[in-house]
Protein backbone atom coordinates (compact mmCIF):
# COMPACT_ATOMS: atom_id res chain seq x y z
CA UNK A 1 0.00 0.00 0.00
CA UNK A 2 2.56 2.60 1.05
CA UNK A 3 4.72 1.62 -1.86
CA UNK A 4 2.00 2.32 -4.37
CA UNK A 5 1.40 5.69 -2.72
CA UNK A 6 4.83 6.74 -3.93
CA UNK A 7 4.75 5.35 -7.42
CA UNK A 8 1.24 5.39 -8.84
CA UNK A 9 -0.16 8.48 -10.47
CA UNK A 10 -3.51 9.25 -12.03
CA UNK A 11 -3.40 10.36 -15.62
CA UNK A 12 -6.01 11.29 -18.20
CA UNK A 13 -5.30 10.80 -21.90
CA UNK A 14 -7.40 12.66 -24.48
CA UNK A 15 -10.61 12.39 -22.47
CA UNK A 16 -13.85 13.32 -24.13
CA UNK A 17 -17.33 13.53 -22.64
CA UNK A 18 -20.52 14.01 -24.62
CA UNK A 19 -23.90 14.53 -23.00
CA UNK A 20 -27.12 14.99 -24.94
CA UNK A 21 -25.19 15.73 -28.15
CA UNK A 22 -23.16 18.45 -26.47
CA UNK A 23 -19.42 17.97 -26.14
CA UNK A 24 -18.60 18.97 -22.57
CA UNK A 25 -14.86 18.57 -22.99
CA UNK A 26 -12.54 16.85 -25.41
CA UNK A 27 -8.82 16.16 -25.69
CA UNK A 28 -8.40 16.64 -21.97
CA UNK A 29 -4.97 15.56 -20.71
CA UNK A 30 -3.54 15.88 -17.25
CA UNK A 31 -1.41 14.03 -14.80
CA UNK A 32 -1.89 14.00 -11.05
CA UNK A 33 1.21 13.08 -9.04
CA UNK A 34 1.51 12.05 -5.42
CA UNK A 35 1.30 15.05 -3.10
CA UNK A 36 -0.54 17.32 -5.52
CA UNK A 37 -4.08 18.48 -6.04
CA UNK A 38 -6.28 18.99 -9.06
CA UNK A 39 -8.98 21.62 -8.80
CA UNK A 40 -11.68 21.60 -11.44
CA UNK A 41 -13.39 24.87 -12.23
CA UNK A 42 -16.13 25.79 -14.59
CA UNK A 43 -19.71 26.92 -14.79
CA UNK A 44 -22.67 24.77 -13.77
CA UNK A 45 -23.15 22.02 -16.32
CA UNK A 46 -19.63 22.33 -17.71
CA UNK A 47 -18.90 18.67 -16.94
CA UNK A 48 -17.07 18.81 -13.61
CA UNK A 49 -19.14 16.07 -12.02
CA UNK A 50 -19.04 13.99 -15.19
CA UNK A 51 -15.26 14.26 -15.24
CA UNK A 52 -15.00 13.17 -11.61
CA UNK A 53 -17.29 10.21 -12.26
CA UNK A 54 -15.11 9.26 -15.21
CA UNK A 55 -12.04 9.45 -12.98
CA UNK A 56 -13.78 7.11 -10.52
CA UNK A 57 -14.67 4.64 -13.23
CA UNK A 58 -18.42 4.98 -12.60
CA UNK A 59 -18.91 6.53 -16.02
CA UNK A 60 -17.01 5.64 -19.18
CA UNK A 61 -15.43 8.45 -21.20
CA UNK A 62 -16.68 8.80 -24.77
CA UNK A 63 -13.07 8.76 -25.90
CA UNK A 64 -9.69 8.51 -24.21
CA UNK A 65 -8.53 6.63 -21.13
CA UNK A 66 -7.81 7.19 -17.48
CA UNK A 67 -4.77 5.36 -16.15
CA UNK A 68 -3.57 4.58 -12.65
CA UNK A 69 0.12 3.81 -12.67
CA UNK A 70 0.42 2.45 -16.19
CA UNK A 71 -2.85 0.56 -16.42
CA UNK A 72 -6.28 1.72 -17.53
CA UNK A 73 -8.62 1.93 -14.54
CA UNK A 74 -11.35 -0.17 -16.14
CA UNK A 75 -8.85 -3.02 -16.35
CA UNK A 76 -7.86 -2.61 -12.69
CA UNK A 77 -11.39 -2.53 -11.22
CA UNK A 78 -11.24 -3.19 -7.46
CA UNK A 79 -7.43 -2.95 -7.57
CA UNK A 80 -7.88 0.71 -8.48
CA UNK A 81 -10.82 1.31 -6.18
CA UNK A 82 -8.86 0.16 -3.14
CA UNK A 83 -6.59 3.19 -3.64
CA UNK A 84 -9.31 5.77 -4.06
CA UNK A 85 -12.25 7.29 -2.21
CA UNK A 86 -15.08 9.28 -3.75
CA UNK A 87 -17.55 11.62 -2.07
CA UNK A 88 -20.20 12.70 -4.54
CA UNK A 89 -23.17 15.04 -4.42
CA UNK A 90 -25.05 12.40 -2.52
CA UNK A 91 -23.50 11.69 0.83
CA UNK A 92 -23.68 7.90 0.68
CA UNK A 93 -24.65 7.70 4.33
CA UNK A 94 -27.76 6.16 5.86
CA UNK A 95 -29.93 8.59 7.81
CA UNK A 96 -31.29 5.80 10.02
CA UNK A 97 -27.89 4.68 11.22
CA UNK A 98 -25.66 6.39 13.74
CA UNK A 99 -22.41 8.02 12.56
CA UNK A 100 -20.42 5.13 14.05
CA UNK A 101 -22.51 2.53 12.20
CA UNK A 102 -22.13 4.50 8.96
CA UNK A 103 -18.36 4.67 9.32
CA UNK A 104 -18.13 0.97 10.20
CA UNK A 105 -19.83 0.17 6.89
CA UNK A 106 -17.58 2.56 4.96
CA UNK A 107 -14.52 0.98 6.53
CA UNK A 108 -15.68 -2.56 5.70
CA UNK A 109 -16.13 -1.61 2.03
CA UNK A 110 -12.53 -0.46 1.63
CA UNK A 111 -9.08 -1.21 3.02
CA UNK A 112 -9.26 -0.44 6.76
CA UNK A 113 -6.52 1.65 8.37
CA UNK A 114 -5.53 2.01 12.02
CA UNK A 115 -7.49 5.09 13.06
CA UNK A 116 -10.45 4.36 15.37
CA UNK A 117 -13.89 5.38 14.17
CA UNK A 118 -14.25 7.70 17.18
CA UNK A 119 -10.99 9.45 16.27
CA UNK A 120 -12.18 9.89 12.68
CA UNK A 121 -15.38 11.54 13.95
CA UNK A 122 -13.35 13.78 16.25
CA UNK A 123 -11.25 14.91 13.29
CA UNK A 124 -14.31 16.27 11.51
CA UNK A 125 -15.59 17.86 14.70
CA UNK A 126 -18.33 15.33 15.34
CA UNK A 127 -17.07 14.02 18.69
CA UNK A 128 -20.04 13.46 20.98
CA UNK A 129 -22.40 12.57 18.11
CA UNK A 130 -21.32 8.91 17.87
CA UNK A 131 -24.68 7.42 18.81
CA UNK A 132 -27.14 10.03 17.53
CA UNK A 133 -29.19 8.98 14.50
CA UNK A 134 -27.69 10.68 11.45
CA UNK A 135 -31.21 11.90 10.55
CA UNK A 136 -31.03 14.22 13.56
CA UNK A 137 -27.78 15.89 12.50
CA UNK A 138 -27.76 19.16 10.59
CA UNK A 139 -26.96 19.22 6.86
CA UNK A 140 -23.43 20.47 7.51
CA UNK A 141 -22.84 17.77 10.11
CA UNK A 142 -24.07 15.11 7.69
CA UNK A 143 -21.66 16.42 5.09
CA UNK A 144 -18.80 16.26 7.57
CA UNK A 145 -19.79 12.69 8.44
CA UNK A 146 -19.62 11.83 4.73
CA UNK A 147 -16.15 13.37 4.57
CA UNK A 148 -15.10 11.37 7.65
CA UNK A 149 -15.43 8.30 5.42
CA UNK A 150 -12.19 9.44 3.74
CA UNK A 151 -10.34 8.93 6.99
CA UNK A 152 -11.33 5.38 7.91
CA UNK A 153 -9.84 3.62 4.89
CA UNK A 154 -6.33 3.59 3.56
CA UNK A 155 -6.57 5.45 0.25
CA UNK A 156 -4.19 7.71 -1.61
CA UNK A 157 -6.53 9.36 -4.12
CA UNK A 158 -9.49 11.40 -2.89
CA UNK A 159 -12.07 12.47 -5.45
CA UNK A 160 -14.42 15.06 -3.99
CA UNK A 161 -17.42 16.64 -5.67
CA UNK A 162 -18.27 19.95 -3.97
CA UNK A 163 -16.98 18.86 -0.55
CA UNK A 164 -17.87 22.19 1.06
CA UNK A 165 -21.59 22.12 0.28
CA UNK A 166 -23.59 23.22 3.36
CA UNK A 167 -20.48 23.63 5.49
CA UNK A 168 -19.96 26.81 7.53
CA UNK A 169 -16.70 28.79 7.63
CA UNK A 170 -15.38 26.74 10.51
CA UNK A 171 -16.36 23.46 8.84
CA UNK A 172 -14.61 24.50 5.64
CA UNK A 173 -11.35 25.25 7.45
CA UNK A 174 -11.54 21.89 9.28
CA UNK A 175 -11.91 20.05 5.99
CA UNK A 176 -9.21 22.14 4.26
CA UNK A 177 -6.81 21.13 7.00
CA UNK A 178 -7.63 17.46 6.39
CA UNK A 179 -7.10 17.87 2.64
CA UNK A 180 -3.80 19.65 3.18
CA UNK A 181 -2.63 16.94 5.59
CA UNK A 182 -3.59 14.29 3.04
CA UNK A 183 -1.54 15.78 0.20
CA UNK A 184 1.47 16.61 2.36
CA UNK A 185 1.61 12.95 3.41
CA UNK A 186 1.78 11.95 -0.25
CA UNK A 187 -1.89 11.70 -1.13
CA UNK A 188 -3.66 13.01 -4.22
CA UNK A 189 -6.73 15.13 -4.51
CA UNK A 190 -9.21 15.85 -7.29
CA UNK A 191 -11.80 18.43 -6.25
CA UNK A 192 -14.56 20.53 -7.71
CA UNK A 193 -15.70 23.47 -5.67
CA UNK A 194 -17.57 26.73 -5.96
CA UNK A 195 -15.65 28.00 -2.96
CA UNK A 196 -12.01 28.93 -3.20
CA UNK A 197 -10.05 25.91 -2.00
CA UNK A 198 -7.30 27.04 0.30
CA UNK A 199 -4.41 24.57 0.29
CA UNK A 200 -1.23 26.09 1.68
CA UNK A 201 1.28 23.29 1.36
CA UNK A 202 0.14 21.66 -1.84
CA UNK A 203 1.03 21.91 -5.51
CA UNK A 204 -2.25 22.82 -7.13
CA UNK A 205 -3.16 22.27 -10.74
CA UNK A 206 -6.28 24.02 -12.02
CA UNK A 207 -8.36 23.01 -15.00
CA UNK A 208 -11.17 25.26 -16.16
CA UNK A 209 -13.74 23.28 -18.13
CA UNK A 210 -15.62 26.37 -19.33
CA UNK A 211 -12.55 27.91 -20.92
Amino acid sequence: MTQSKDTAALAAHALECIRDDRTLFSNLDFRLEAGSALILEGRNGSGKTSLLRILCGIRLPDAGTVTWGDTAIDKLGPDYHMHMAYIGHRDGIKLDLTPLENLAMARALGMPNDITLEAALAKVDLAGYEDVLTRNLSAGQQRRLALARLLVTDTSLWILDEPFTSLDVHGISVIEELLDAHTTSGGMLAVTSHHAVNLQNTTVQRINLSA
Binding site: M82, L95, D96, L97, M105, L109, P112
Partner: protein, 227 residues
Protein backbone atom coordinates in the same frame (compact mmCIF):
# COMPACT_ATOMS: atom_id res chain seq x y z
CA UNK B 1 -7.23 -8.09 -0.66
CA UNK B 2 -7.90 -11.21 1.37
CA UNK B 3 -10.99 -13.35 1.74
CA UNK B 4 -11.14 -12.45 5.44
CA UNK B 5 -11.96 -8.80 4.82
CA UNK B 6 -14.38 -9.83 2.07
CA UNK B 7 -16.26 -12.09 4.50
CA UNK B 8 -16.27 -9.24 7.01
CA UNK B 9 -17.72 -6.83 4.46
CA UNK B 10 -20.36 -9.44 3.53
CA UNK B 11 -21.40 -9.94 7.16
CA UNK B 12 -21.33 -6.23 8.07
CA UNK B 13 -23.44 -5.34 5.02
CA UNK B 14 -26.08 -7.95 5.93
CA UNK B 15 -26.07 -6.86 9.56
CA UNK B 16 -26.44 -3.21 8.58
CA UNK B 17 -29.39 -3.97 6.29
CA UNK B 18 -31.09 -6.00 9.03
CA UNK B 19 -30.54 -3.11 11.43
CA UNK B 20 -32.10 -0.69 8.93
CA UNK B 21 -35.04 -3.08 8.49
CA UNK B 22 -35.62 -3.17 12.25
CA UNK B 23 -35.61 0.63 12.32
CA UNK B 24 -38.20 0.63 9.51
CA UNK B 25 -40.44 -2.02 11.07
CA UNK B 26 -43.65 -0.79 9.48
CA UNK B 27 -42.22 -0.93 5.98
CA UNK B 28 -40.86 -4.40 6.67
CA UNK B 29 -44.25 -5.71 7.82
CA UNK B 30 -45.98 -4.60 4.59
CA UNK B 31 -45.29 -7.64 2.34
CA UNK B 32 -46.00 -10.11 5.15
CA UNK B 33 -49.26 -8.39 5.96
CA UNK B 34 -50.17 -8.47 2.28
CA UNK B 35 -49.38 -12.20 2.09
CA UNK B 36 -51.48 -13.04 5.15
CA UNK B 37 -54.39 -10.79 4.18
CA UNK B 38 -54.70 -12.03 0.61
CA UNK B 39 -54.52 -15.66 1.63
CA UNK B 40 -56.93 -15.30 4.51
CA UNK B 41 -59.48 -13.40 2.42
CA UNK B 42 -59.87 -16.30 -0.01
CA UNK B 43 -61.86 -18.58 2.33
CA UNK B 44 -64.18 -15.64 2.99
CA UNK B 45 -64.53 -14.86 -0.70
CA UNK B 46 -65.18 -18.31 -2.11
CA UNK B 47 -67.04 -19.80 0.85
CA UNK B 48 -66.22 -22.45 3.40
CA UNK B 49 -66.06 -25.38 1.02
CA UNK B 50 -63.10 -27.48 2.29
CA UNK B 51 -62.64 -29.46 -0.91
CA UNK B 52 -62.63 -26.33 -3.07
CA UNK B 53 -60.30 -24.45 -0.70
CA UNK B 54 -57.92 -27.37 -0.59
CA UNK B 55 -57.88 -27.48 -4.38
CA UNK B 56 -57.02 -23.79 -4.83
CA UNK B 57 -54.78 -23.44 -1.75
CA UNK B 58 -51.37 -24.20 -3.36
CA UNK B 59 -51.97 -21.74 -6.17
CA UNK B 60 -53.41 -19.05 -3.93
CA UNK B 61 -50.63 -19.23 -1.36
CA UNK B 62 -47.93 -19.21 -4.00
CA UNK B 63 -49.46 -16.38 -6.03
CA UNK B 64 -49.76 -14.33 -2.84
CA UNK B 65 -46.12 -15.08 -1.94
CA UNK B 66 -44.98 -14.12 -5.44
CA UNK B 67 -46.86 -10.82 -5.39
CA UNK B 68 -45.59 -10.06 -1.90
CA UNK B 69 -42.06 -10.63 -3.17
CA UNK B 70 -42.71 -8.37 -6.14
CA UNK B 71 -44.12 -5.66 -3.86
CA UNK B 72 -41.03 -5.53 -1.73
CA UNK B 73 -38.25 -6.28 -4.20
CA UNK B 74 -37.70 -2.68 -5.25
CA UNK B 75 -36.46 -1.82 -1.76
CA UNK B 76 -33.40 -3.95 -2.32
CA UNK B 77 -31.55 -1.11 -4.10
CA UNK B 78 -33.91 1.89 -4.19
CA UNK B 79 -32.79 3.69 -1.02
CA UNK B 80 -29.14 2.85 -1.70
CA UNK B 81 -29.49 4.46 -5.10
CA UNK B 82 -31.12 7.57 -3.70
CA UNK B 83 -28.64 8.24 -0.91
CA UNK B 84 -25.53 7.40 -2.94
CA UNK B 85 -24.60 4.19 -1.11
CA UNK B 86 -24.80 2.29 -4.37
CA UNK B 87 -21.92 4.34 -5.80
CA UNK B 88 -19.89 3.40 -2.76
CA UNK B 89 -20.50 -0.33 -3.32
CA UNK B 90 -19.39 0.14 -6.91
CA UNK B 91 -16.18 1.84 -5.75
CA UNK B 92 -15.51 -0.68 -3.00
CA UNK B 93 -12.31 -2.67 -3.03
CA UNK B 94 -14.46 -5.81 -2.92
CA UNK B 95 -16.14 -7.39 -5.95
CA UNK B 96 -19.56 -5.83 -6.55
CA UNK B 97 -21.17 -9.24 -7.15
CA UNK B 98 -20.35 -10.36 -3.61
CA UNK B 99 -21.77 -7.18 -2.09
CA UNK B 100 -24.86 -7.62 -4.24
CA UNK B 101 -25.28 -11.16 -2.93
CA UNK B 102 -25.11 -9.77 0.61
CA UNK B 103 -27.82 -7.23 -0.23
CA UNK B 104 -30.04 -9.96 -1.71
CA UNK B 105 -29.45 -12.24 1.27
CA UNK B 106 -30.42 -9.49 3.69
CA UNK B 107 -33.50 -8.73 1.62
CA UNK B 108 -34.55 -12.38 1.67
CA UNK B 109 -34.03 -12.59 5.43
CA UNK B 110 -36.31 -9.57 5.87
CA UNK B 111 -39.07 -10.44 3.39
CA UNK B 112 -38.76 -14.10 2.32
CA UNK B 113 -38.06 -15.73 5.64
CA UNK B 114 -41.15 -14.32 7.43
CA UNK B 115 -43.36 -15.56 4.56
CA UNK B 116 -41.77 -18.96 4.93
CA UNK B 117 -42.30 -19.09 8.68
CA UNK B 118 -45.95 -18.07 8.54
CA UNK B 119 -46.87 -20.33 5.60
CA UNK B 120 -47.72 -23.48 7.64
CA UNK B 121 -50.34 -21.47 9.49
CA UNK B 122 -51.89 -20.35 6.21
CA UNK B 123 -51.76 -23.95 4.95
CA UNK B 124 -53.83 -25.02 7.95
CA UNK B 125 -56.21 -22.13 7.35
CA UNK B 126 -56.78 -23.34 3.79
CA UNK B 127 -57.31 -26.91 4.98
CA UNK B 128 -54.24 -28.46 3.36
CA UNK B 129 -53.21 -31.94 4.61
CA UNK B 130 -50.06 -32.08 6.73
CA UNK B 131 -47.99 -33.70 3.97
CA UNK B 132 -48.87 -30.92 1.56
CA UNK B 133 -48.01 -28.27 4.17
CA UNK B 134 -44.57 -29.82 4.53
CA UNK B 135 -44.06 -29.63 0.79
CA UNK B 136 -45.44 -26.08 0.71
CA UNK B 137 -42.81 -25.14 3.26
CA UNK B 138 -40.02 -26.76 1.25
CA UNK B 139 -41.13 -25.12 -2.02
CA UNK B 140 -41.18 -21.72 -0.32
CA UNK B 141 -37.78 -22.41 1.22
CA UNK B 142 -36.33 -23.17 -2.20
CA UNK B 143 -38.49 -20.77 -4.20
CA UNK B 144 -38.53 -17.44 -2.34
CA UNK B 145 -34.72 -16.98 -2.66
CA UNK B 146 -35.16 -17.47 -6.42
CA UNK B 147 -37.74 -14.65 -6.41
CA UNK B 148 -35.30 -12.34 -4.58
CA UNK B 149 -32.39 -13.26 -6.85
CA UNK B 150 -34.31 -12.76 -10.09
CA UNK B 151 -36.02 -9.65 -8.80
CA UNK B 152 -32.66 -8.05 -7.93
CA UNK B 153 -31.60 -8.19 -11.59
CA UNK B 154 -34.79 -6.40 -12.61
CA UNK B 155 -34.38 -3.77 -9.90
CA UNK B 156 -30.76 -3.19 -10.86
CA UNK B 157 -31.83 -2.57 -14.45
CA UNK B 158 -34.63 -0.15 -13.55
CA UNK B 159 -33.29 1.62 -10.46
CA UNK B 160 -32.02 4.57 -12.49
CA UNK B 161 -35.45 5.26 -13.99
CA UNK B 162 -37.69 7.58 -12.07
CA UNK B 163 -40.83 5.50 -12.61
CA UNK B 164 -39.45 2.02 -12.98
CA UNK B 165 -42.17 0.15 -11.11
CA UNK B 166 -44.28 -0.90 -14.09
CA UNK B 167 -41.31 -1.96 -16.22
CA UNK B 168 -39.95 -3.87 -13.27
CA UNK B 169 -43.11 -5.99 -12.99
CA UNK B 170 -43.14 -6.62 -16.74
CA UNK B 171 -39.48 -7.64 -16.69
CA UNK B 172 -39.60 -9.85 -13.66
CA UNK B 173 -43.02 -11.54 -13.67
CA UNK B 174 -42.38 -13.79 -16.70
CA UNK B 175 -39.22 -15.03 -15.01
CA UNK B 176 -41.17 -15.78 -11.83
CA UNK B 177 -43.65 -18.00 -13.68
CA UNK B 178 -41.56 -21.22 -13.81
CA UNK B 179 -41.09 -21.09 -10.03
CA UNK B 180 -44.82 -20.60 -9.57
CA UNK B 181 -45.72 -23.50 -11.87
CA UNK B 182 -43.34 -26.04 -10.36
CA UNK B 183 -43.98 -24.98 -6.78
CA UNK B 184 -47.78 -24.97 -6.84
CA UNK B 185 -47.93 -28.20 -8.79
CA UNK B 186 -45.56 -29.78 -6.24
CA UNK B 187 -47.92 -28.85 -3.42
CA UNK B 188 -50.90 -30.07 -5.48
CA UNK B 189 -49.21 -33.38 -6.17
CA UNK B 190 -48.27 -33.78 -2.51
CA UNK B 191 -51.89 -33.17 -1.50
CA UNK B 192 -52.93 -36.18 -3.61
CA UNK B 193 -50.20 -38.29 -1.97
CA UNK B 194 -47.90 -38.73 -4.97
CA UNK B 195 -44.09 -38.30 -4.84
CA UNK B 196 -42.79 -34.79 -5.58
CA UNK B 197 -39.03 -35.32 -5.80
CA UNK B 198 -38.95 -34.29 -9.44
CA UNK B 199 -40.70 -30.97 -8.76
CA UNK B 200 -38.46 -30.17 -5.85
CA UNK B 201 -35.33 -31.03 -7.83
CA UNK B 202 -36.41 -28.65 -10.56
CA UNK B 203 -36.99 -25.80 -8.10
CA UNK B 204 -33.63 -26.55 -6.47
CA UNK B 205 -32.04 -26.42 -9.92
CA UNK B 206 -33.67 -23.03 -10.52
CA UNK B 207 -32.30 -21.86 -7.19
CA UNK B 208 -28.75 -22.96 -8.04
CA UNK B 209 -28.98 -21.38 -11.46
CA UNK B 210 -30.25 -18.09 -10.03
CA UNK B 211 -27.67 -18.16 -7.24
CA UNK B 212 -24.78 -18.60 -9.64
CA UNK B 213 -25.91 -16.13 -12.32
CA UNK B 214 -27.94 -13.42 -10.61
CA UNK B 215 -25.16 -11.71 -8.59
CA UNK B 216 -23.08 -11.20 -11.73
CA UNK B 217 -26.03 -10.06 -13.83
CA UNK B 218 -27.15 -7.71 -11.05
CA UNK B 219 -23.66 -6.24 -10.66
CA UNK B 220 -23.39 -5.65 -14.40
CA UNK B 221 -26.87 -4.07 -14.51
CA UNK B 222 -26.00 -1.76 -11.61
CA UNK B 223 -22.91 -0.55 -13.43
CA UNK B 224 -25.06 0.31 -16.43
CA UNK B 225 -27.72 2.02 -14.30
CA UNK B 226 -25.17 4.21 -12.53
CA UNK B 227 -23.09 5.26 -15.51
Amino acid sequence: MNSDSLTRAFVILIRRDLMLAVRHRAEMANPILFFVLVTSLFPLGIGANPALLQAVAPGVIWVAALLAALLSIENVFRSDFEDGSLEQYLLSSHPLSVLVLAKITAHWLVTGLPLLLISPLLGILMGLPVDAIKILFITLLLGTPVLSLIGAVGVALTVGLRKGGMILSLLVLPLYVPVLIFASSAVDTAATGLPVTAHLSLIAALLLLALSLSPFATAAALRVSLS
